[in-house]
C-alpha cells in the first residue's frame, strides 16, 4: 500500500522531501530573492551594475565565510569568535601602512602578517575553547565582543604615527575609517579586470577567492582534514581510534583565525577602507548566516555551502538594497539583512542534528 502510494505521488513526494531537506527558512529566502530579482527587472534597475556588484561582494566576503568551515567541521560550531581573526587582520593592515608599504608590496605584507597573527591568535583561542567544550558558541560570541571593545582601546591609544591614519587634530589615536587609496585599494579587484555585457568582473578577486577555496578543499581532503571531520562526526569514535581530539580542535581554530585575518584584508582592499573600532562587532553573524543559507548545518559545512551561501546572501543584499529604497524606505535592506542572518541561525540551532555533544 505504502509503496503504491509512494509511486503515485513520486514526484510530489520527492519535491516535498527536497523541500524538507532545504528547510522552510531557506525556501522563504529563495522566494524572497526571486521576488527581488523580478522586482529589479520590473523597476528597470541597471541589472549589469547590480551583477557586477554581486560578483565583487561575493569575492569580498567569501574568505570570511570560508573561515567558518574548519570549526564547524571539527564540531565546535560556527566560529562566533571571528572578530578575533578580523582584528588581527586590521592590526596587520595598519602595520603595513605605518611602515610605509604600498601597492602589491603593501598588500602582501599586510596579508602575510595577517595570516601569521591570525593563526597565532586562533591557536591561543583554541586553547580556551578546548576548556569550554559544548559552550563554544556562547563563549565565542562574548569573547568576540570583548576583543572588539578591548581593541577599540588599543586603536585609541596605540602609538601610530602615520598621518594618513591618526586623527588630523590632536594627533593621537587611529581614525574610525582609514582609506587605502594610496596603499592597496582594489589591488585584486583591478587585476585582469574586464567588462563584459556591461558587467565589471573583478577577476583577480574572484581568482584569489577560488584559489583559497581550492587550497581549503585540498586541506580538508588531506590526512589532517579527514581526521578533523572524523572528530566532528563522532568525538567518541575519534577518541577510540586514537585521534588527539584537542589537537584537531586547535588546528581548526588556528585555521579559522588565519582565514578570518586574511579575509578582512581581502574585504578591505575591495572596499577601499579599513574599518576599525566597533565595525567587526557583528561580522561573524553575517558570515555564519551566509554559510547556513548555503545549506550547512551547525556541525557540518563544506566549501560548496560557503560558495553558494555567500553568493545567495550577497545577491540578496545587493538586489534588495535599491529595490527596498525605491519601494519602501532606506533602512529596510539593513533590517532585512539582520532578520535573514539571525533567522537562519535560529533555524539551524533548532534542528535536532545540530546538537553536537548531547548533554
Amino acid at each position: 500500500m505504502a509503496e503504491q502510494r509512494l509511486e503515485e505521488n513520486g514526484l510530489v513526494e520527492r519535491l516535498k522531501s527536497a523541500a524538507a531537506d532545504l528547510g522552510v527558512p531557506r525556501l522563504i529566502i529563495f522566494a524572497f530573492l526571486a521576488a527581488m530579482v523580478v522586482a529589479a527587472f520590473l523597476l528597470e534597475l541597471p541589472i549589469d551594475t547590480l551583477t557586477g556588484n554581486v560578483l565583487t561582494r561575493f569575492g569580498m566576503n567569501g574568505i570570511l565565510v570560508l573561515a567558518m568551515i574548519p570549526t564547524m567541521q571539527v564540531g565546535m560550531g560556527p566560529n562566533f569568535g571571528l572578530p578575533l581573526g578580523i582584528t588581527c587582520g586590521l592590526v596587520a593592515a595598519t602595520l603595513s601602512i605605518e611602515l610605509g608599504f604600498a601597492g602589491l608590496q603593501g598588500f602582501l605584507v599586510a596579508l602575510s602578517v595577517a595570516i601569521a597573527l591570525g593563526a597565532a591568535a586562533g591557536y591561543a583561542y583554541g586553547l580556551l575553547l578546548n576548556k569550554v567544550r559544548g559552550e563554544e558558541m556562547t563563549v565565542g560570541t562574548y569573547f568576540g565582543f570583548s576583543i572588539v571593545s578591548l581593541m577599540s582601546i588599543f586603536w585609541a591609544l596605540a602609538p601610530y604615527k602615520s598621518p594618513e591614519m591618526i586623527w588630523p587634530y590632536g594627533g593621537s589615536g587611529l581614525r574610525v575609517t582609514i582609506t587605502l587609496q594610496n596603499h592597496f585599494d582594489k589591488i585584486l579587484d583591478h587585476f585582469l579586470a574586464f567588462t563584459v555585457f556591461g558587467i565589471d568582473v573583478p577577476t583577480g578577486l574572484l581568482l584569489f577567492f577560488f584559489a583559497a577555496c581550492f587550497l581549503l578543499w585540498l586541506f580538508m581532503r588531506s590526512r589532517h582534514g579527514i581526521a578533523m571531520t572524523a572528530v566532528g562526526n563522532n568525538i567518541r569514535f575519534a577518541e577510540s581510534v586514537g585521534l588527539n581530539v584537542n589537537r584537531y580542535r586547535l588546528l581548526a581554530s588556528t585555521l579559522s583565525g588565519a582565514l578570518g585575518a586574511a579575509g578582512i584584508i581581502i574585504y578591505a582592499q575591495s572596499y577601499g577602507f579599513l574599518q576599525l573600532y566597533q565595525a567587526p562587532l557583528f561580522m561573524a553573524f553575517f558570515a555564519v548566516g551566509s554559510i547556513l543559507i548555503g545549506g550547512a548545518s551547525i556541525n557540518h559545512a563544506t566549501i560548496k555551502h560557503a560558495v553558494i551561501g555567500t553568493f545567495l546572501f550577497q545577491a540578496l543584499l545587493v538586489v534588495s538594497l535599491p529595490v527596498a529604497n525605491l519601494v519602501v524606505s532606506e533602512n529596510l535592506s539593513e533590517v532585512i539583512r539582520i532578520i535573514i542572518t539571525n533567522g537562519i541561525i535560529l533555524y539551524a540551532l533548532s534542528r535536532r542534528e545540530s546538537g553536537g555533544e548531547t548533554r
Binding site: L157, S329, L332, I338
Partner: protein, 360 residues
Amino acid sequence: MMEHKAVEEAKPAFSLGRLLKNHAVPILFIIICALGSYYARLPLQFLIAEIITRMARNSFLVISLIIPIIAGMGLNFGIVLGAMAAQFAFIATVFWQMQGLVGLSVTVLLTIPVAIVFGWLTGMLFNRTRGKEMITGIILSFFANGLYQLICLWVIGGLIPFPDETMVLPSGVGLRNTVNLKAMHYALDNIIKWRHGMISIPVMTFAAVALLCVGMVYLLKTKLGQDFRAVGQSQQIARVAGINVDKVRILAIVFSTVLAALGQIIFLQNLGILTTYGSHVQVGTFAVAAILIGGASVSKATIGQALLGTFLFHTLFIVSPLAGKNLMGNPQVGEFFRVFVAYGVIGVALALHAWRGRGK
C-alpha cells in the same frame, strides 16, 4: 572525642581565604569601582545621587533574570523581547496621548499580555534548542530586533495608519528616532519623593522593587517555585517525579519576560524618552553583566547578588568615562573599558561555567 572533633570540622572558623575564593568576582569589582571612583574625582553627593537613580531604574530588569537561572536555563538573553513589549505599549499610550500615572498603568496593562505571548514563544523555542538556550537567546534577541525595526520603520505608518506627526518621520512612514515620554516622565518615581540636597529617593519605585523581591521569595516557596528548582537540578528526575518539564520551562521564561517588560517600563518612565531603535538593544547584555558581577553564575543566582551587581555595574558605568579621561587623557577609553567589562565578564562567566561543567 571523635564526635567533638567532627563538630569542630563541620563548623569552620571564619576564613579570609574562603571568603575571597567564594566571592572573588564581587570583591574584584568592589576594588575596581573604588579605584574608578577615586580617579573619577566626582563629588560624593553627586555619585550617591546617580547611584540611587540608577539602582531604582535598573534593579527590576536585573532581578528578572533570576527565575530562568534557577530553572536551569542559564542567562536569559531573551529579556530583550520583554523590553520590546514595553516599548510597543509605550508607543500606543503616547499615541493615545495618555498622561501620568493613568497612562503608565494602561501601559503596564497593555504590556503584560504582549510580554506573555513573547515569553511563551521564546520558551517554546528554548524547548526546541534544549542545552543551547543561551546562544539561542542571544541570536533571538538580534532576530527580534530585526522584526522590531521592521515594524517600527515600515509597518507603523506604512501598513497601519499612524496619524501623529510628532511621532512619525516626515515621510509619514516609520517612527522617529525618539518617542517623547514627557507626559509619563517620573510618573512612578514622583508619587513620593524624599529629597535631601542633591539626593532624591523615588520611594514608590523602590517599593516596587521591594515588592518584587518579596514576591520572588514567596514564589520560590510555592509548588511552582519548587518545580523551577527541580527542573533546574535535573530535567530527567523532574520528569520522573511527574513534573511537566516543558511547561515549567516555558513558565520560567514567561515570568522572566513579563518582569523584564515591567522593568523596562520603570526604566523608561525614569528616563522620560524612548530611543525607538536603541533603548532595548543592550538591555540583555547589561542586565546579565550586572547579575554576574554581583557574584551570580549561569546556574545560581540570588536577589542579593542581583542588587549588589546592579550597584557595582552602574557605579562602574558612572565613574569609568571620567576615570578614563583622568587616567588616559581620553574619555573614549573609559567608555570602551566599561563596554569591555560588560562583554568580558559575561565571556569569563560563561567560560568558567563550561570549564567547571566539564569536570562533572
